[in-house]
């Protein structure tokens, strides 16, 4: 839950999300200086919804660029507002603090694996939100211009690099750590490969209880079951040191947009299927604020794990 009493830095006179009208718009009059929790809930759920939409744009047919751009702009807008409110900062701090020690082991292992990301070609789909966007236009860059971008983004995936791409909000790849596909591998990525790699990764996961736990949180995350399954651990100074050079600027959507290599050619139903093996998938759209810590947990995993 966002700490109560967080004050809005700027008053937005008209700015409230227009959500489906059951409860009506939240009461955030221009004069109110307190961030209304229902407003932030609505905003939060809108953000989650948008990210899921971006993520699910991986189809066999090229996704609609206009739609992706509009959704990405919406996410950016929410992000900017949250940054203004200061809630974004709070979230990223809580995120760093919420990392539990066991995950660190996973993280370390993953870090090692990450460095030879080149070997991960054709691995499981990374259902990165905007990869659909990437799919449409990034590929062209690689093919036509022999783009440096591809290499840059690959290196940015290594967690030790300060360029780590934001993955901040991505209901990520269920802790499938090294799952960023190389852009060059685009052409090879077919659905069969995906399924294989999904299977292999899930097998890996089963063998690592920590990883599995992380996955189940991730799985839940994606479907918005907002219950805390594990209490938030106390901040770990060792972890903080590990992540001290993590630059919060890469929570910025822009890096997210570029950081991602493409394509999972995974249909929306594949995503659902692959997640079903993990956590209960109660699709709940009522986001309780308690879920946020959970979110932060797994966002951290993504950053580390990818």
């Amino acid at each position: 839950m966002f700490p109560k009493g967080t004050k809005r830095k700027f008053s937005d006179s008209g700015e409230e999300p227009v959500c489906s009208g059951d409860q009506g718009p939240s009461a955030s009059p221009a004069a109110a200086r307190t961030l209304s929790s229902s407003y932030s809930l609505q905003r939060q759920s809108l953000l989650d919804m948008s990210l899921i939409k971006l993520q699910l744009c991986h189809m066999l047919v090229e996704p609609n660029l206009c739609r992706s751009v509009l959704i990405a702009n919406t996410v950016r807008q929410i992000q900017e507002e949250m940054t203004q409110d200061g809630t974004w900062q709070i979230m990223t701090q809580a995120l760093a603090a919420a990392q539990c020690p066991a995950d660190r082991l996973v993280a370390t292992e993953v870090l090692c694996r990450q460095t030879d990301a080149a070997a991960q070609a054709g691995q499981s789909p990374k259902p990165f939100p905007v990869s659909g966007l990437e799919e449409g236009y990034h590929s062209e860059e690689v093919v036509m211009d022999g783009d440096v971008e591809a290499e840059v983004t690959m290196s940015s995936l290594s967690p030790v690099s300060p360029q780590l791409s934001s993955a901040s909000y991505l209901p990520g790849p269920f802790g499938m750590a090294p799952c960023w596909e190389e852009e060059e591998e685009d052409g090879d990525c077919e659905e069969d490969e995906e399924e294989d790699s999904e299977e292999s990764v899930s097998e890996e996961e089963e063998s690592e209880p920590d990883h599995l736990r992380a996955d189940s949180r991730t799985g839940e995350q994606v479907f918005g079951t907002f219950e805390i399954k594990h209490p938030a651990p106390p901040p770990d100074p060792a972890l903080e040191e590990l992540f001290s050079d993590v630059d919060p600027s890469y929570y910025d959507l822009d890096t997210v947009l570029t950081g991602m290599q493409s394509t999972p050619k995974m249909g929306p139903y594949d995503l659902l299927e692959s997640l079903s093996s993990h956590a209960p998938t109660a699709l709940s759209s009522s986001s309780s604020c308690r879920s946020d810590l959970n979110e932060l947990d797994h966002i951290m995993e993504i950053i580390v794990g990818s």
């Binding site: 809108l46 799919e135 052409g187």
Partner: protein, 443 residues
Amino acid sequence: MEEESDTRKINNSFLRDHNYATEADIISTVEFNSTGELLATGDKGGRVVVFQREQESKTQPHRRGEYNVYSTFQSHEPEFDYLKSLEIEEKINKIKWLPQQNAAYFLLSTNDKTVKLWKISERDKRPEGYNLKDEDGRFRDPSTITSLRVPVLQPMDLMVEATARRVFSNAHTYHINSISVNSDLQTFISTDDLRVNLWNLEITDRSFNIVDIKPANMEELTEVITSAEFHPQQCHTFAYSSSKGSIRLCDMRQAALCDKHCKYFEEPEDPSTRSFFSEIISSISDVKFSHNGRYLMTRDYLTVKVWDLQMENKPLETYQVHDYLRGKLCSLYENDCIFDKFECVWNGSDSVIMTGSYNNFFRMFDRNTKRDVTLEASRENSKPRAILKPRKVCVGGKRRKDEISVDSLDFSKKILHTTWHPHENIIAVAATNNLYIFQDKVN
């Protein structure tokens, strides 16, 4: 046609002429040709079906010419882009007719990547009486030929053939959303999300890029082109609309690359209605010049706007299509309906504009009387040849007998594509996989 009689007809007298149910496929575009004699529809399966109006019969003057199927052909096939491992849909996004110059008809049809020029021609005679061939085509032994004759053309059953005369391909990285034929009848533009390309109808292996809004760094992409159209009379002028709710008018004489617009139309945002969805609902889904070339019409999610080309800072007229959806934007965002791209059309005299909505409703607005009407394209709710009854959506409070409440609207039944006959009050409306043709009542 007088304005007054126009109005009366529009509000009261549209009757359902006939409707055609195409088997499987969702209709993705409809377009009358420049005389209104032909009506083309394109569908999701890549097929084009052309209807032709019957000659008016003197014995049945109360029946205006009906539209019957004239030609059906497969315009585009599904393809696979091996480079990106993606399918290219065969869905026909747009059809544009070329004005008729000889006995054959020409149209341009496009899917996401490729534009094709089709020639539709009739054959109702065939030559008979060859010297060297039999009637069934077998060659005759020359030694058996003792006399020569001249082959003559004999009538045969009418055959309508469609042949692809040009294929304009490999010019678009992104999905083509519109095509527009120039008034010079020699060139046309094809538009995708980031670029506008100019083609000569005769040349298929190259095109000129005249607008490119692709940023050097793709992560900075925040705006895409949603539609473009040539001015109906000025062959050097075209307009394109964006996902941010702006329209740019460009003059091709100014520079080879028309990145600098000569006019920029945008209405400043109303801060009182601002929400997270403001940008999405301001995205323009269609832009159409009026027939007289003085106005532009744009369609965004909730409104239709008419712009005077001389006034850039705000539209001349704004019409609310379905403002009752404003309170439902979150749900519509969730189910993706907020991204639906509705088209809009002018009538022949530019006095009435029409656009579609949900629940198989479509709306007409009379620009002169400011009256509007909501009609429904459905078999259940209208009998053939019956006058359409105006519909009403109830926005709250007590619902009257024939009204429909906002919550009962069927959002899967959307009318995205409509077209209006260039001279008469005949409209064609595509409701998913059904085509409806409505004509106004003949007195």
